[in-house]
């Protein structure tokens, strides 16, 4: 896989017909979010088709992670709605969204440090376990059996699938960056999500690790049938595995479509590389200086 860090009018794939998604697994409608006077997101709308990989790209500070935080319920957008399978989830709290089937990974790995890989992954299933504290007090056996069943299931489905069997009892803090990212994915998969949000799944990885991760993401889509929305800067990977690309710039959607369409979109190229027009650059710098 070749990695080209910037989208350029270089690839010439045959254009499959752009199929409009029938019922989106995830819809964002007119979402706006501001922090004080800074408008992080401005009237953002896009759909994610069921069972697809959609990439959310854009320069740094474009609002991609803010978008993720809105979808997973950490931020409350000032306007707009988020729908899952047509159902409005805008008012649902973050832990309940996780229970409804949203799982995510984080840009700056958010693992439970000091715990083992297995404990981290098991916590992904936390929300789905049944015994509460009083039952656990009354029936230690039942709680212990539930834990045991959970461990077996996770080892079978997640650990083997992501090829992390050899590190399952290692403390996560001692793992390499690439493996930590993989454990984070494992934890998200243990949640048995319907929608998986991946925030820069291959950031900081070498080529081999990137290829492994890309393969795992494709397998997740194909074998688990999970809908994936991913933020990623590695354009090679985005172009290779995504079905649909949404481009954000300064909190607004500036383009969307198939990977190669987006790649050739002049506005997208301008957002990443500048327009190549010195006058436009001077104008932008003047605007930014004034702001």
């Amino acid at each position: 896989m070749t990695t080209h860090p910037l989208p350029g009018p270089g690839s010439h794939q045959a254009a499959p017909p752009t199929a409009a998604p029938a019922a989106a697994a995830l819809s964002v409608e007119g979402l706006s979010l501001s922090f004080g006077g800074i408008k992080a997101l401005r009237d953002v709308s896009f759909d994610v088709a069921p069972g697809s990989i959609t990439a959310l790209i854009g320069p740094n500070g474009a609002g991609k992670t803010s978008m993720f935080n809105c979808i997973s319920g950490f931020y409350r957008p000032s306007t707009g709605r988020i729908l899952m399978d047509g159902r409005d989830v805008s008012q649902v709290h973050a832990p309940d969204r996780a229970r409804m089937g949203f799982a995510r990974t984080f840009q700056n790995i958010a693992l439970f440090r000091g715990m083992t890989v297995l404990d981290n992954i098991k916590l992904g299933r936390h929300a789905h376990l049944k015994t509460n504290i009083f039952q656990a007090l009354a029936y230690f056996g039942a709680a212990a059996r539930e834990e045991e069943a959970l461990r077996a299931e996770i080892e079978r489905d997640v650990i083997d699938f992501l090829e992390i069997n050899h590190i399952r009892n290692a403390p996560v803090a001692a793992l390499s960056y690439g493996l930590q990212k993989r454990v984070e994915l494992a934890r998200a998969l243990a949640m048995r999500p319907r929608i998986l949000l991946l925030d820069e799944p291959v950031a900081g990885m070498n080529r081999e690790e990137t290829e492994d991760m890309a393969r795992f993401i494709l397998d997740v889509k194909e074998e688990w049938g999970i809908t994936i929305l991913m933020v990623e800067h590695d354009m090679g990977m985005v172009m290779d595995i995504s079905d649909h690309v949404v481009v954000l710039n300064f909190g607004q959607v500036i383009a969307r479509g198939l990977p190669h369409e987006v790649q050739q979109n002049p506005e997208v190229v301008a957002a990443y590389l500048g327009s190549g027009d010195p006058a436009a650059l001077m104008k932008r710098l003047a605007e930014e200086g004034a702001a």
Partner: protein, 294 residues
């Protein structure tokens, strides 16, 4: 058995008894720290509140001890819930030092309230344990200390089992480690905070009832909590097992120092251990040592 050996054995038993009580109090610190990364210094005063609640229910309202004890424990839990909802949750994201200072202030407020209601004089609470001494073989143990040991031991055993076998124990740790990640795993983070405060404060109140029945009560009886804080630092701030071992250890050290060196050496010994521990093993005997990969 020679007199010296027997005496040593009795001192040891008394030390283990008060050590178990220290463990129970330490557990209140550990529970709250484990979930919220906050050292709640008001645990000491909740201990005292528990004893005064028992006094109010048993002596003031004439209830039987078997009704007054659960009510006193529930009273502690209620204070925990109110404090968490009313103060601590509003401080989410503030620096740990600010929150720590709030718990220091809260302790003073509770002492003041108790002095307003019950006065500053020491009180005794109605006896519900009995006075008949207990003999383990030839060794004499005060019945109250014996009962305190059994009760503390049972409660700690339950907590240890919960942490071992119940996912809530892991959820508690997860919440403390990374709140965003905990949220995204579907853990109800504010709920975990509330639960930890309620259970922690209720535990402290229960320990207070036991402590009050042994040594009587006064608004300053929370000083016992300082020794428990040493226990927590020795055992590890986030380790319930460390609270158990540390409590018994400090209990024994205090008993030996108090008996063989003189009462004034009790706290000297305890706090010397604290200083030594902070120098050689600041995360405690059983605490989590943060591994950082740089």
């Amino acid at each position: 058995m020679s007199m010296e050996t027997l005496f040593f054995l009795e001192v040891t038993l008394a030390g283990l008894g008060s050590g178990a009580l220290l463990s129970l109090t330490a557990l209140a610190f550990v529970l709250i720290y484990k979930a919220t990364k906050i050292i709640n210094l008001a645990v000491s005063e909740l201990l005292m509140m528990g004893a005064y609640f028992f006094l109010a229910f048993a002596a003031g309202m004439g209830m039987s001890a078997w009704l007054a004890i659960p009510l006193a424990v529930a009273g502690g839990g209620l204070i925990g819930a109110v404090v968490e909802r009313g103060i601590i949750r509003r401080m989410l994201g503030e620096s740990p030092i600010s929150v720590f200072m709030v718990t220091v202030g809260l302790g003073s407020v509770l002492i003041g309230l108790v002095e307003l209601v019950w006065g500053a004089d020491p009180r005794t609470i109605p006896d519900f344990i009995g006075r008949a001494p207990v003999f383990l073989g030839e060794a004499y143990v005060s019945r109250k200390i014996f009962v305190a040991f059994l009760v503390s031991g049972a409660v700690i055993a339950v907590f240890l089992l919960l942490f071992r076998f119940w996912r809530g124990g892991v959820a508690l740790r997860a919440t403390a480690t990374d709140q965003a990640a905990a949220y995204s795993c579907g853990i109800n983070v504010p709920g975990v905070f509330s639960l930890a405060w309620i259970i922690g404060c209720a535990t402290a109140a229960g320990a207070g009832v036991l402590l009050g029945s042994i040594g009587g009560l006064s608004p300053t009886m929370g000083a016992f909590g300082l020794s428990a804080l040493v226990v927590v630092i020795v055992g590890g701030l986030d380790s319930p097992f460390g609270a158990l071992v540390g409590g018994l250890f400090i209990g024994l050290v205090e008993a030996y120092a108090g008996t063989y060196l003189g009462g004034e050496y009790k706290l000297v010994a305890t706090f010397s251990i604290l200083v030594l521990m902070l120098v050689i093993r600041p995360y405690g005997l059983f605490g989590t040592r943060e591994i950082e990969r740089l």
